[in-house]
């Protein structure tokens, strides 16, 4: 179900916790699985639960509780924009509007070619860098002007 590389990464996470507390690695394991699969289908969550020796329902509860897990397919690139108040004071909403216009989609939508999904985010702990975007959950982009947004979209377009 998961590649050898993903399993090795998961094993490294498991090793951080006491031997009888493998479940503690579930958040990381789901993250690693999501990176490989693009999102978290039910079978993948069940596999992760099994791998950690925990009930599937408990892993599913975790996957549905935390915002950054995708329980439905998303575009190849997921872009999350922070629009919370501190960011909004420095252009967070303007940046989000610009992205919507450029991509021709609203929040929680995916472009017809399946390349981009746009999400509205909450505070990312980077408000001094507003506007900020998070690309594919892993890459934070600071001080997003329209030109920089154009640049990022162009780079992602080819990936």
């Amino acid at each position: 179900m998961l590649s050898q590389e993903s399993l090795q990464q998961i094993d490294r996470e498991i090793a951080k916790y006491p031997p009888d507390q493998k479940q503690s690695a579930v958040m990381s394991a789901l993250r690693i699985a999501q990176v490989e699969k693009g999102w978290l289908p039910k079978e993948v969550i069940e596999f992760v639960a099994d791998y950690l020796g925990m009930p599937a329902i408990a892993a599913y509860e975790v996957a549905s509780f935390y915002n950054m897990y995708d329980l439905e397919p998303v575009g190849r690139h997921k872009i999350t924009v922070c629009t919370n108040l501190p960011c909004a004071l420095s252009g967070g909403v303007h940046a989000a509007d610009y992205l919507k216009e450029k991509l021709g989609i609203d929040f929680n939508e995916t472009t017809p070619d399946g390349k981009f999904t746009l999400k509205e985010g909450e505070c990312m702990g980077a408000c001094g860098d507003a506007p900020v975007l998070l690309v594919n959950n892993h890459h934070m982009c600071s001080w997003m002007t329209k030109e920089k947004i154009d640049q990022i979209l162009a780079e992602l377009e080819d990936k």
Binding site: L85, E122, P131, M140
Partner: protein
């Protein structure tokens, strides 16, 4: 980021985070001293008490006192947790500490583990900052390789294992017991207290949780002595503190200043008001702290006591600055949406109440408000506060109460005229994408 103060002193962006540079700045000398001089744990805790260091995560609880709650002679494992789940809107200091000076957190946690007899610790890092998580992992590897972390630290019989745990997008995991649940691999739902984590914490074992900045301050306190640290600030408000300044200023960023520094000076450091516009309001301690009118804020100094006397909280030290182009109804609407979205749903008053607050503020903002709505908002907050498992219920209520208290006429204007007091085009201009000079 400013390179002054203690934690950020000599720190130069991404270039100087590593072990070698940290040691060149005097790093790990506090840990070396403790281990080579075999300083008794009680002495360390007494030093912390003398420093009057108060928790930097929001509640401002005295750190030395918290450490003294850990059972001294507990037979099994004891744990330490660092709260780097920085998600309180406006707060972005822990991210800079972790990426620019991660070893000060590692050293501070190791000293804490020594003082409380903890064998293992976890640093819970906010989900959205993956690069910082990787940086912290790299710093941990450096510390282990140098014998500063792990088994038999610096050749002594003291051992401490420390690991990074990555969050994945839930504000509530910043609440300390939700954080513990999350490390256990569960939904991040706060626990009933008591029992407190010092008696029943991670995996049911005694645990102490402190904020990133709290731990980062510890090596400096050991090096300079508690009293000298206290004297940097003012009585009951020891030391320096990082303030995250966001919003309508010319240079948003983190500024580390002595406790008790006038707000006006902090504003000046942050480059003053953007476009020379007029200061309207400040949220001085993260989105959960009550908002204060600009003129009240201009008379405050940046410390727990002064801000609390003015009717708000120093909280996490997140200073959200709003100028005259801000519509206060719209500002509150966005915050109320946040709390509604992030309530974990365990307690009815919070789950239902936050939704109610958001919907009522939303309808006022959209010109559908009713005369009785302000009373309704106040009554809903009254029914939330003090009736929930964790403080998120209060955190959602305090903005509502304070916005109405100080800017009630703007809300009334909205309800009567079905539009903003600040014209939309003025708001639009004032919240443009900010291009750094």
């Amino acid at each position: 980021m400013s390179g002054s103060g203690l934690i950020l002193a000599g720190v130069d962006g991404d270039r100087t985070w590593g072990l070698q540079d940290y040691v060149a700045r005097g790093g790990y000398s506090a840990l070396r001293k403790i281990i080579s001089e075999k300083i008794p744990p009680e002495t360390i805790i007494a030093e912390l008490k003398a420093s009057s260091l108060r928790g930097r995560g929001g509640a401002g609880f005295p750190t030395g006192l918290k450490w003294s709650f850990m059972p001294r002679s507990f037979p099994g494992a004891k744990y330490l947790a660092c709260n780097s789940d920085e998600g309180e809107p406006g707060t972005f200091k822990d991210r800079d500490i972790l990426r620019y000076n991660p070893h000060t957190v590692i050293e501070g946690m190791t000293i804490a583990a020594y003082a409380m007899g903890c064998e293992r610790g976890y640093n819970y890092i906010h989900g959205e900052i993956f690069d910082v998580y990787e940086r912290f992992e790299a710093a941990l590897a450096e510390a282990r390789a140098a014998g500063l972390l792990g088994q038999s630290i610096l050749g002594s019989d003291f051992s401490f294992e420390l690991f990074a745990h990555h969050g994945y997008g839930a504000y509530i995991c910043g609440e300390e017991t939700a954080l513990l649940e999350s490390i256990e691999g569960k939904k991040g739902q706060p626990r009933f207290k008591p029992p407190f984590p010092a008696s029943y914490g991670l995996y049911g074992k005694p645990t102490t949780i402190n904020n990133t900045e709290t731990f980062a301050s510890v090596p400096f306190i050991i090096n300079m002595g508690g009293e000298a640290f206290l004297n940097l600030g003012k009585p009951n408000n020891g030391g320096t503190k990082l303030f995250s300044v966001s919003g309508h200023v010319n240079r948003p960023g983190n500024y580390e200043i002595a406790m008790g520094t006038p707000f006006a000076e902090l504003l000046e450091m942050a480059g003053g008001m953007r476009g020379g516009r007029k200061l309207k309001a400040v949220i001085p301690g993260g989105s959960s702290a009550p908002v204060l009118p600009g003129n009240v804020m201009m008379d405050c100094t940046m410390d727990y006591d002064s801000i609390s006397k003015a009717g708000s909280m120093l909280g996490s030290g997140a200073v959200i600055v709003m100028d005259e182009t801000t519509c206060m109804v719209k500002a509150l609407e966005r915050l109320s949406y946040f709390y509604f979205e992030e309530s974990c749903g365990q307690c009815t008053p919070c789950r239902e109440g936050t939704g109610w607050l958001y919907r009522v503020v939303h309808r006022i903002e959209n010109g559908l408000g009713r005369k009785e709505d302000l009373d309704l908002l106040n009554s809903v907050t009254g029914n939330i506060m003090g009736r929930t498992i964790c403080a998120l219920g209060d955190a959602a209520s305090m903005p509502v109460q304070s916005f109405i208290k100080h800017f009630g006429s703007e809300f009334e204007y909205h309800i009567e005229n079905k539009k903003c007091l600040v014209p939309p085009e003025v708001q639009y201009e004032g919240s443009q994408i900010y291009v750094r000079p």
